[in-house]
């Protein structure tokens, strides 16, 4: 098992292998996006209370989920990088950060657009908005640390420690902010036994969540490929690759 792990964990194999995956992941993402958006924007009934404006959840909720999911991916990649020194994990973590930050920003922006007609204000210092904002700070901090350290190997490992410190802190920050003050509506989907959302609204939302997931997978692989080229720019195989391109 470890043989495969090391073989495909090596930057060169990952570079070749990921090339095959990216178009497939991108294609699946596109299909799911079309299905989810038509389901959500055309077929789902308007909400009895919020009217048509509830439809922003088809972007808002998946981005909020992704913002947390990507942080966990980053921290897991960091742990793998620190323990097993897998170079691909470094590239994945570094490639994930800007994506995570974008999803966090998207969740905040869509939430704010929705908040204006619903709560009558662009921004409230509500627990979940605040912890999402703090998550954005954590992403930006990670990215700032990455750019501040010149040696890419050191930067990756320092980032790994930072993301692990962050992942220990996120639940503490989240609950302390929750406890501090809250206005945001409670989760409507996690109650699996009896979700308080109708299936015709829920199904497009789940499809959208998967679409975002595939988008992330495709783009993170694409970005990680460039990160690997940059990290391995002094190795023989990258040199051969560029020589081939030059013809």
């Amino acid at each position: 098992m470890f043989e495969y792990f090391y073989k495909y964990g090596s930057p060169r194999h990952f570079y070749d292998l990921s090339k095959m995956f990216v178009p497939w992941l991108g294609g699946i993402c596109l299909i799911l996006l079309i299905a989810g958006l038509t389901g959500g924007l055309l077929f789902a009934p308007p909400d009895y209370q919020q009217g048509e404006s509830f439809r922003i959840i088809y972007v808002h909720v998946p981005s909020a989920w992704m913002s947390l999911f990507i942080y966990v991916v980053m921290a897991s990649a960091g742990a793998i990088s620190l323990v097993w020194k897998v170079k691909v994990a470094d590239a994945l973590a570094r490639a994930s950060a800007p994506l995570g930050a974008s999803f966090t920003f998207l969740a905040l922006a869509t939430g704010s657009l929705w908040g204006k007609p619903m709560w009558g204000t662009w921004w409230v210092w509500d627990a979940r908005l605040t912890s999402e904002l703090i998550l954005l700070f954590l992403y930006l901090g990670y990215m700032a640390l990455q750019t501040a350290i010149d040696d890419r190997r050191t930067a990756a490992r320092a980032g790994a420690i930072l993301s692990l410190v962050g992942v220990v802190n996120i639940p503490i920050i989240h609950y302390s902010v929750e406890w501090w003050h809250t206005l945001h509506q409670g989760p409507t989907i996690t109650k699996l036994d009896a979700p308080s959302i109708h299936p015709s609204m829920l199904v497009p939302l789940l499809i959208m969540a998967f679409a975002f997931m595939f988008y992330y997978a495709a783009v993170v692989l694409l970005r990680a490929r460039y990160e690997i080229l940059e990290n391995e720019r002094n190795s023989a195989w990258v040199y051969e690759l560029t020589e081939q391109r030059k013809g």
Binding site: L82, I134, F137, L138, L140, G141, A144, L145, A148, I149, T154, R157, A158, A160, I161, L162, L164, V165, G166, V168, N169, I172, I173, S176, V177, W179, W180
Partner: protein, 227 residues
């Protein structure tokens, strides 16, 4: 390398850092002066009205304490990096965690302990109710060690980088939020005459968690940066 010699190393590092700190008096006083100035700025911005100040006093004192502690953290490993003793720590046969723990304790004693004494006077100056003074000191006593411990991890990650001061601040302040929330809530509740044990227990729990994890993380941060 016995347990005895490891403890001797701990004491030696602690003694060294305290001595260095006490001989650089200005560095010792600067965070303290900064603490006073920030609180004064808040009062100037808010106006000298006892009613307003009474309400925001816990927040003002705690935010000022956070900023003062952040500023001083940049110095934690800086001089050791400059004079090469950091290298000696990394090469030492003794566990790095022990050395780092001694450094954090020394740093806390030099920067946070004076802050707690100063907060006693500042609390009175911003009209904090008498009943809230002791709780304020208690939150500082439980909270500032958490700041030093968590800050040490990030201080180790950023030491010697270009623009490390602002970078450290950027990385550290989000992680200080839980301490800020619970401390201010404690003092607020005390000022209103409500129970404060719950919040104090939370602060205590954070202290235990960071005492357990932060020295390890600090040591491995140093190894990542320089090892």
């Amino acid at each position: 390398m016995t347990a005895n010699s490891t403890f001797a190393v701990f004491l030696a590092v602690l003694r060294r850092d305290l001595l260095i700190g006490l001989r650089h008096r200005s560095e010792l006083f600067n965070p303290l002066v900064f603490f006073f100035i920030v609180v004064t700025m808040f009062v100037l911005a808010l106006g000298p009205y006892a009613d307003t100040l009474k309400q925001v006093a816990p927040a003002v004192i705690w935010v000022a304490a956070l900023l003062a502690s952040t500023l001083s953290l940049d110095m934690l490993f800086h001089s050791d990096l400059d004079d090469g003793s950091l290298e000696q720590f990394l090469l030492s046969p003794h566990p790095l965690i022990i050395i780092v723990t001694a450094k954090i304790i020394a740093h806390w004693l030099l920067t946070a302990a004076p802050l707690i004494v100063a907060a006693l006077f500042l609390g009175l100056m911003v009209y904090l109710p008498q009943s809230a003074i002791v709780p304020l000191l208690l939150t500082l006593l439980l909270g500032t060690p958490v700041l030093s411990l968590v800050g040490a991890v990030l201080g180790a990650l950023t030491v010697g980088l270009r623009g490390s001061g602002i970078l450290l601040t950027l990385l550290i302040l989000p992680l200080y939020i839980p301490v800020l929330i619970f401390s201010v809530a404690t003092v607020d509740n005390a000022a209103k005459g409500l129970a404060i044990t719950g919040e104090l227990y939370f602060l205590g729990a954070m202290l235990v968690l960071s005492v357990t994890l932060a020295p390890f993380a600090t040591a491995s941060s140093l190894r990542v940066r320089f090892g």
